[in-house]
């Protein structure tokens, strides 16, 4: 009984020596002998791990080099391979960007010292990062009596670092530390009720825009309609002037002096062209009788037909008389008057 109790007591002591109260992740205190997590492939009786950094002050996202040195204190069979930092809990929170290594072998070997060094390039992602977390890896000791106790932890403490933002230099700092005083206008404030007004940016709705687009043409058309009713003569004159044939004929007539025989012929031709263009007179060189018959066919009143026929008679007389200085009093004005009177006829508006 005493022997059993003694063995039990020894077992309890061994168990208590082997059990580690839970502390922080990746902490040696949290490691139970026999666990194979974070095994780095090293086999030997005793390995130690230390770590160092290339610099303890670094800007956000600037690289720093973490060097892990693993050395064998006793006999060793298999060298360590590159530890996997991302397997450690504290490196999984994204505080560091860990650049991928090109090889799993050691960056440097020290055969005489039985040591191997591994470099890791880390970039802190935020100013809040305050240290490189502690490291915890395991090696295999084949000489431990119990097989499940052969995975032995080795650890290195965390390394405090200072992560700074990129740039804080301001122009006033370069000026010797004295803040530059802004211009005087910044020390003035606008006062009065003007500061309390509610001003908004100009906006235009589509409905209002359509009204404003349609309003001017509608008003102009309405104004023209009212004007034509109030001033019918003026409206009629405007209609006559609208006749392109009449405008062209009148313009042509103004270019002739009306003093030579050739002008009489030309003016007569102008009138013929006007009748052809305006009322579709088909005769190429009509006589006064043909013109009269044509106008009669259109419904022209007799006095106007008579005047037109007499005009062409006078033109023909001057043309065939052979007189170089004929009497052409009022021939040009008569032609203009005929055109105006023809345009004024009611039946001409529909032509």
């Amino acid at each position: 009984m005493i022997r059993i109790g003694f063995l039990l007591g020894i077992s309890v002591l061994v168990f208590q020596a082997g059990s580690i109260p839970a502390a922080e992740p990746d902490s040696p205190k949290n490691f139970k002998p026999g666990e194979k997590d974070n095994f780095i492939g090293a086999e030997g009786t005793s390995f130690r791990m230390t770590s160092r950094v290339s610099q303890t002050e670094v800007n956000v996202d600037d690289p720093l080099t973490l060097t892990i040195r693993i050395s064998a204190a006793g006999k060793w069979q298999t060298p360590p391979r590159r530890p996997d930092l991302k397997a450690l809990e504290r490196f999984k929170n994204g505080d560091f960007h860990i650049e991928r290594a090109t090889s799993s072998k050691a960056d440097r070997e020290y055969p005489k010292e039985n040591a191997w060094e591994f470099d890791f390039k880390l970039r802190p992602r935020d100013e809040a990062v305050q240290k490189i977390p502690p490291l915890l890896f395991t090696y295999y000791n084949p000489e431990v009596l119990f097989e499940d106790k052969r995975w032995i932890p080795m650890s290195a403490p965390g390394i405090p670092i200072n992560v700074k933002p990129r740039s804080r230099v301001r122009p006033r700092e370069i000026e010797g530390g004295k803040p530059l005083r802004p211009p005087e206008r910044f020390f003035q404030v606008t006062e009065g009720s003007e500061v309390l007004r509610r001003q908004s940016s100009f906006t235009l709705s589509w409905g209002l825009a359509m009204v404003l687009i349609l309003a001017p043409p509608a008003l102009c058309m309405g104004g023209y309609f009212i004007w034509s009713k109030l001033y019918p003569d003026a409206a009629n004159q405007a209609r006559r002037r609208r006749s392109r044939a009449a405008r062209r004929a009148l313009r042509s007539l103004r270019s002739y002096s009306g003093k030579k025989a050739e002008d009489a012929v030309a003016m007569g031709q102008v009138l013929v062209n006007y009748l052809r263009e305006r009322f579709e007179l088909t005769a190429a060189d009509p006589t006064h009788a043909e013109v009269a018959a044509f106008l009669h066919h259109l419904g022209c009143p007799d006095p106007l037909i008579g005047r037109t026929a007499r005009y062409f008679q006078e033109c023909d007389a001057i043309r065939f008389a052979g007189n170089e200085n004929p009497s052409m009093n009022g021939l040009a004005s008569e032609a203009e008057s005929l055109i105006h009177d023809l345009e004024a006829q009611p039946w001409s508006a529909s032509s």
Partner: protein, 262 residues
């Protein structure tokens, strides 16, 4: 019953909120106290004045004078980003206010941009300084006048057939078409500002990233400091995507910037 409750609520609100005239008087008083105080004390008064101007703004008061006062208060209080936002708001209402524009230029000169390249620098203003900037209201007025003159000219020409009236109508038509094009351009700019509001970076050392999280790589090695202006493109959670004047796009924490929501 509902009406009574609404009346009581309105009365209670009016007792709780100070009149805007009182608020303005207090803001002006705080500002003047800041001017006469020494450096350490003055900043507190300027912050107080800026806060009261902001309360006026939130009550619907909006005009270039208010924004100028607020911008000045923020700048003297050392809050460069909020000063820039205030000046921008004033220029939106009055693009031809030379003092606002000069104040904004002064603020931009205080921003620490990256030493090399144009990252974060504000857009270059190509507008001729001697030419008044068109506003929607003025351009609309000119276009409407020209458009009306066109129709008057056309109608008069139709009635009288005088060629000079047709010439006048054609000139008026050209002016109205140009004015219409200008109005469309201004409207497009206004819609763009509304869809992509101004963002001013509020702290130093902000790194733009390719995604909405610290695990994403940075867009550029150089960080952006407070006062850099950008436009908001998207937001996702606590992160916002911005576009700088040079076209660079990246994500940053939303709390690191001030968004001028319209």
């Amino acid at each position: 019953m509902v009406g009574v409750l609404l009346a009581i609520a309105s009365l209670a609100t009016s007792f709780y909120l100070r009149p805007v005239e009182d608020l303005l008087a207090k803001a002006e008083q705080a500002f003047h106290q800041g001017v006469v105080s020494d450096l350490d004390e003055s900043r507190r008064f300027y912050i107080q004045a800026a806060g009261q101007f902001e309360e006026l703004r939130q009550r619907g008061i909006a005009n270039p004078d208010l924004y100028r006062n607020q911008g000045n208060a923020y700048l003297l209080a050392g809050d460069l980003p909020r000063a820039i936002v205030a000046y921008h708001r004033g220029l939106r209402l009055s693009p031809n206010d030379e003092e606002l524009r000069a104040n904004l230029t002064y603020c931009r000169d205080q921003v620490v941009y990256p030493a090399s390249g144009n990252l974060g620098r504000p857009p270059v203003d190509h507008w001729p300084p001697w030419l008044p900037r068109p506003t929607m209201g003025s351009l609309f007025f000119v276009t409407l006048i020209a458009y009306s003159l066109f129709w008057i000219g056309i109608t008069a020409w139709w009635a009288t057939r005088r060629n000079e009236l047709m010439t006048l109508a054609v000139i008026a038509l050209v002016v109205s078409l140009l004015g219409g094009a200008g109005l469309m351009w201004l409207d497009r700019e206004s819609r763009h500002d509304h869809d992509h509001p101004l963002v001013v970076i509020a702290k130093d050392g902000v790194l733009l990233r390719r995604g909405n999280g610290l695990s994403y790589p940075t867009v550029a090695e150089q960080p952006l400091n407070q006062g850099v202006e950008a436009r908001l493109r998207f937001y996702k959670g606590d992160w916002i995507q911005i576009e700088l004047a040079g076209g660079e796009v990246g994500w940053m924490p939303g709390k690191a910037g001030i968004i001028d929501a319209l």
